[in-house]
């Protein structure tokens, strides 16, 4: 019997005819009619006008007919909320039918009707169904609670359904347990309060149900286990042992969920042997994912990418399974390539390079490009393989395939950056391929190479000149690079480029309407016209080395994604908050900051996929960071005495150009980072507020101002020393007397040049705090002495040490660990303090952002009856965790702080510090 005949009625008057048939007394006629209605609905015809008529067929003993009517009601109830109420009676009656199939069907369908006046009537049948004697009805009812919660959360809470659901975790039937887990997990995700907590009590019930429920139920339960943080390593190990057999399940979803649980619980197992055992068990199932359907392979590979980043040892010997097959879909090949780069090491690089070379001769252009780029990334990643990589790239250049050559030149430029003065011998080969370059990125790379090595390329000026001819038609990336390269050439070989530099500066500043180009042109112009040597120092300075971080994820993001293995987040490599609107409100704010820095490599908009530029995102970031650090180090290394203050503020942010010389990057970054290393320049916005600590009245021969600061994981004492005497002060030695923090300078001899009479210099003293040890009673004041050599004059002074300088950058706890730790610290260690807020105006959000900058991290924030409660954590250099709960009330200038710490003795000083942090803007 074929149903297709139901689709064939298209004549006029059809609706009328259907009405007639629906009114028929004969059951089979009615059924035929309803089937026609459903068929019409399926092909998208509007049959909602038949609502009343179809509803009339609902009271039937024919199960098939009943199901069809239910299906119809489900689809159209929204259009007829007033008439849908007529169905309630039948639903309620069916919910008490002796046949469990019908009882479940009624509850299930009612739950799907998202109409208010129906949901009201759902409560009673649902309550019965939750206690039904038949497990099929109970498991259906469990899911129904989640449906109801989606429509009306208050109703579910008021009716006490959540408690019933929690009780169901102990149900004798594993399917019921699994569905209760699924419902609770979903509700917990959106609810403001915690409705589903796994504790040692229900943990065992879940583990027991795990062995007996269906494959899907196993997935629900395994996922829920990730919410629990084991009490100790023993418990963690027990859970791992119970979960590990699931790795043998035929269903890949079960396998991936089991991997997720193991990845989480292994963090709590200190015993290296056990960790190794479990890691060993995970490898074969992960490899087997690659023999499944391509879609599953893709999902598996995205997850393996995360797993390899966290625990590379799991798959370290499995390189070969990631070799691409000719008939793999392109999306699988691309992911395999990425993992091959991750797993490449000195031992396997030879076979990996052979593979890459093979891929580079395939015909899929994007795949070929990625393969060439992979060779470059391996060269940068593995020092000892760089030579072989270069050789392969040169071989590929010989193929003369246009896009291969271009891609090779782009990566060779990066290799030059990583290994300066090592492979320049190949420049001649590269120059031979100039004419085949037609893509901006390749052109720009080649130009960069020519500029950077202008002194070794005899005809550099001719080459650059040939590019200069078409300057106006070039892409801005190429223009910028050409400008820089010609300036470099000029600085190295002034005679050859006199004319060219003039031309390019003219073109850039006068004939271009690209602000980046114009500004860079002006900067060079001023530099060159002011001081040739200074310009040389700036433009030709040594560049920081690069590393390959293209695919590396930020640590905290990686942690979060590991907790999301097998979900969409693990496919996109983005935290769920960034693509899901409906999540607990409190979670959303908390991630903001990381979100902004993170450059996910899986972008799903139009320029999706590994575009030729993809490789740069991460690298660029890294470069910027390095430049930033370098800038910090160079603060005292006054490069040029130019007054760039007016220019500096006018400079735009050029974040998309990897070629700019480091100094330019510095200018570009200057808006974020204070200002460029202008040394004594008065325009410098000092990052630390120093206060005078000695010789304030100028009666002494020296004046000292200083402050402790923390940046880049280091604590330092920043001093400004002014020589008020008539003699040169040559060397200084600083000494810290015994203090409550146990800190001291790393090197007592200050690293600073001699100070001439009347001169002021700044010096940064790195502080040793790795072995900080706190002694009682706590006193924040540190006594210090400074001796000036050679006069051996000694000055004594004291400074307050801000406790927060010892807060480390990695003090952010995961939500679970936070909760676990809070619970594990005894009540006796808890302290409460009310902090007066003395700021003129404040709002909790910006205040907390400020604390975040000081490494006092916010974990979660909740709003509740006009109160904002924020949970924060920090960790000191000697690994003492301090957890604090701050409560801000509306219209109150008092903030309540409840804090706990593993070391109660630090609490008074912490509270004092907290007060300072909050009240010092």
């Amino acid at each position: 019997m074929s149903d297709s005949k139901y689709f064939q009625t298209t004549k006029k008057g059809e609706i009328h005819e259907l009405k007639e048939e629906l009114l028929s007394q004969r059951e089979d006629k009615k059924k035929e009619a309803v089937k026609k209605v459903i068929a019409a609905m399926t092909v998208g015809k509007d049959v909602s006008m038949l609502f009343t008529h179809v509803l009339n067929c609902m009271q039937t003993h024919n199960l098939e007919l009943k199901k069809l009517v239910y299906l119809y009601v489900m689809n159209y109830a929204k259009n007829h909320p007033d008439r849908a109420i007529l169905a309630v009676n039948t639903f309620q009656k069916d919910a008490t039918d002796p046949n469990p199939l019908i009882r479940a069907l009624a509850v299930r369908t009612m739950g799907c009707i998202r109409v208010d006046n129906i949901t009201e009537h759902l409560c009673e049948p649902l309550r019965h169904a939750l206690k039904d004697q038949d497990p099929y009805v109970r498991k259906t009812a469990a899911v129904c609670v989640a449906k109801l919660y989606d429509v009306n959360p208050e109703l579910v809470e008021n009716q006490g359904f959540l408690n019933i659901l929690n009780d169901m975790l102990g149900d004798s039937n594993p399917m019921v347990v699994a569905n209760a887990v699924a419902a609770l997990t979903e509700i917990d995700e959106v609810s403001k309060t915690e409705v589903f907590r796994i504790h040692s009590g229900n943990l065992n019930k879940l583990l027991a149900a795990l062995n007996e429920c269906t494959e899907w139920g196993q997935v629900f339960i395994l996922n829920s286990l990730c919410k629990y943080t084991p009490r100790d390593s023993q418990e963690a190990e027990n859970v791992c042992e119970r979960v590990a057999p699931r790795l043998q399940h035929a269903n890949s979803a079960v396998v991936l969920s089991a991997v997720k649980v193991l990845m989480k619980y292994l963090n709590s197992i200190p015993n290296g042997d056990s960790v190794r055992t479990f890691c060993k068990k995970m490898a074969p199932p992960l490899v087997t994912l690659l023999s499944k359907e391509p879609e599953i392979q893709f999902l598996g590979l995205r997850n393996i990418n995360l797993i390899v980043q966290r625990r590379p040892e799991i798959l370290q010997y499995e390189m070969k399974v990631f070799f691409c097959k000719y008939n793999d879909p392109i999306y699988v090949k691309m992911e395999k390539l990425e993992i091959m780069i991750m797993l490449a090491n000195e031992k396997n690089i030879d076979e990996v390079l052979l593979e890459f070379k093979e891929y580079a001769t395939e015909i899929d252009v994007e795949f070929v490009r990625k393969a060439v780029r992979a060779i470059g990334r391996c060269a940068i990643k593995i020092d000892r393989a760089s030579e072989r990589c270069i050789q392969v790239l040169l071989d590929l250049i010989q193929t003369k395939v246009n896009y291969v050559v271009q891609e090779a030149i782009i990566v060779i430029k990066d290799i030059f950056r990583k290994y300066p003065n090592k492979y320049e011998g190949i420049i001649a080969t590269l120059c031979a391929n100039l004419e085949s370059l037609d893509e901006p990125e390749a052109k720009a790379s080649m130009i960069w190479i020519i500029g950077e090595y202008a002194e070794r390329i005899d005809n550099a000026h001719e080459l650059l000149n040939s590019f200069l001819e078409g300057f106006k038609d070039e892409n801005s990336q190429v223009q910028l690079q050409l400008l820089t390269a010609i300036v470099k050439l000029f600085l190295k070989r002034p005679k050859d480029a006199q004319q060219m530099v003039q031309t390019v500066l003219n073109l850039s500043t006068q004939e271009s309407d690209n602000p980046d180009l114009r500004d860079r042109g002006f900067v060079y112009w001023r530099l060159l016209s002011t001081d040739f040597e200074a310009a040389k120092a700036v433009v030709l300075s040594e560049k920081p080395l690069i590393t390959d971080t293209t695919s590396q994820l930020d640590e905290s993001l990686l942690n979060e994604l590991i907790m999301n293995i097998s979900t969409l987040a693990s496919v996109y490599h983005k935290p769920p908050e960034t693509f899901v609107a409906k999540l607990k409100g409190i979670k959303r704010g908390m991630r903001k900051e990381e979100e902004d820095e993170e450059e996910p490599d899986y972008v799903d908009d139009d320029n999706n996929g590994p575009s030729p530029n993809q490789g740069y995102a991460g690298q660029q970031q890294q470069n910027n960071q390095q430049y930033g650090q370098q800038q910090q180090q160079q603060r005292s290394g006054n490069l040029i005495d130019l007054d760039l203050s007016d220019l500096g503020s006018a400079l735009p942010q050029q974040s998309n150009n990897p070629y700019a010389s480091p100094q330019q990057q510095q200018y570009n970054n200057s808006n974020d980072l204070g200002f460029l290393g202008g040394g004594g320049n008065n325009n410098v916005r000092s990052p630390v507020q120093k206060s005078v600590i000695f010789g304030g009245d100028k009666s002494q021969s020296i004046q000292i101002a200083g402050a402790f600061s923390r940046a880049n994981n280091r604590v330092s004492l920043e001093l400004t020393l002014s020589n008020n005497s008539q003699q040169q002060m040559a060397r200084f030695k600083i000494q810290f007397y015994q203090n409550s923090f146990g800190i001291s300078p790393i090197d007592p001899i200050l690293n600073c040049p001699p100070i001439e009479p009347g001169q002021t210099i700044e010096v940064s003293i790195p502080i040793q705090c790795a072995n900080a040890a706190f002694t009682q009673p706590f006193n924040p004041v540190i006594d210090m002495a400074m001796m000036v050599l050679p006069s051996q004059e000694k000055f004594y002074f004291k400074m307050n040490f801000p406790f927060n300088c010892l807060f480390t950058e990695n003090g952010r706890l995961e939500r679970d660990s936070y909760l676990a730790m809070w619970r594990s610290i005894p009540e006796t260690n808890e302290r409460q303090k009310e902090i007066q807020i003395r700021l003129n105006q404040f709002d909790p959000a910006s205040l907390l952002a400020k604390l975040n900058q000081k490494n006092l991290f916010e974990i979660v924030r909740k709003s509740n009856n006009g109160q904002e409660i924020s949970f924060l954590s920090c960790k000191t250099e000697n690994s003492i965790y301090i957890l604090v709960e701050l409560t801000f009330s509306q219209n109150s200038r008092v903030c309540k702080a409840i804090s706990k710490s593993t070391a109660p003795e630090v609490m008074p000083i912490f509270e004092h510090t907290l007060d300072n942090l909050i009240n010092n803007a």
């Binding site: 129904c144 043998q248 035929a250």
Partner: protein, 428 residues
Amino acid sequence: MAASAIFLMDSKGKVLISRNYRGDVPMSVASKFVSKILEEEDLNLKPIIQEDGISYIYVKYNNLFLLATTERNANAATILLFLYKMIEVFNEYFKELEEESIRDNFVVIYELMDEMMDFGYPQSTEPKILQEYITQEGYKLERGAKGIMLPAAITGAVSWRKEGIKYNKNEVFLDVVESINLLVSANGTVLRSEIVGAVKMKSKLSGMPELRLGLNDKILFENSNKTGAPKGKGVELEDVKFHQCVRLSKFENDRTISFIPPDGEFELMSYRLNTTVKPLIWVECISDTHAHSRVEYMVKAKSQFKGKSIANNVEIIVPVPPDADTPKFRCTVGTCKYAPEKDAIIWTIKQFPGGGKEFLMRAHFGLPSISDEKPATKPPIMVKFEIPYYTVSGIQVRYLKIIEKSGYQALPWVRYVCLSGDYQFRTS
């Protein structure tokens, strides 16, 4: 975790049937999905895509799209696996899932969709059990105990087998099928060789039988050898996957494979071995291209398995340029055919004896005097074969114990076969 809606679409993206499970994603997004996948280049067509906050997870099957949508951080693995499970169930119901069968069975499909997933959470997906209470014929529902009732299995611990099955002759058939995946580089180095095996079972047993399968599992052997059990060569299985009927924790504890089987055919277990075995059939190909005039091939095939065995239906598929013409062949054994639709020569050898036998084939093609400059693709040479009564891994079924409370005797039958899987020789 959950899928919001599921669509079955034809190859042009027309929705054939759909089910909205959660109502949070508008059903109209199906058309957005269609335009996205029709516009997008192949490269960017991943099986999981996101647009405007909605994630689309889909698989392609027989000119059909099975699509799931969600706006949450759903469990993508579950959804993908569920889509495949749907295909399995529909195939079981209608022989072959295709556009036609969907139209012919839309009522049952609606029922199945209602039963297999609730609010986006997969529920019962065992085809055998679903067939118990969702049938294609309309049925009367009678008052009382008679009429369609819920199979107890659906929520029971044994959710894959109903009670009261009866056979006059109790039999079990076991098929041990191994397929060999091989990847050889153009210069003849074996890059990867892998055995993917499966134990398939067809059970025709009455009641609720308890089965225990004994294999020559190396780990088990090593354990039992200490206690003086019979000696023999064991096989080290690298990654074993079991049907959900097998008690995993029991296997974890003492490596025994014990289970209550579903009725009929199913895959009991699969395993994988990464051992390097000598490629069973070795192929070498020398090609000589005279541009714009002709190309010649010399292909040598050699058997490297035991002399007692014979490989059946061997096909060696040698790629040729797409613009090649006027084929000429010469081979010592078998037949050669030019398959222009595959741009390949197919050399078929019905029976290929083992023990180092070597066969030769020569082919000659004309090439057009003009050709486009596009870089040539380099498809690999593929080989297909099957070798009966043979396993590469050496796996053996040592016993299959069947215990049922009625105490009947049942006979197990075991067959072995070795197949080619992804068996590729790269060409230069």
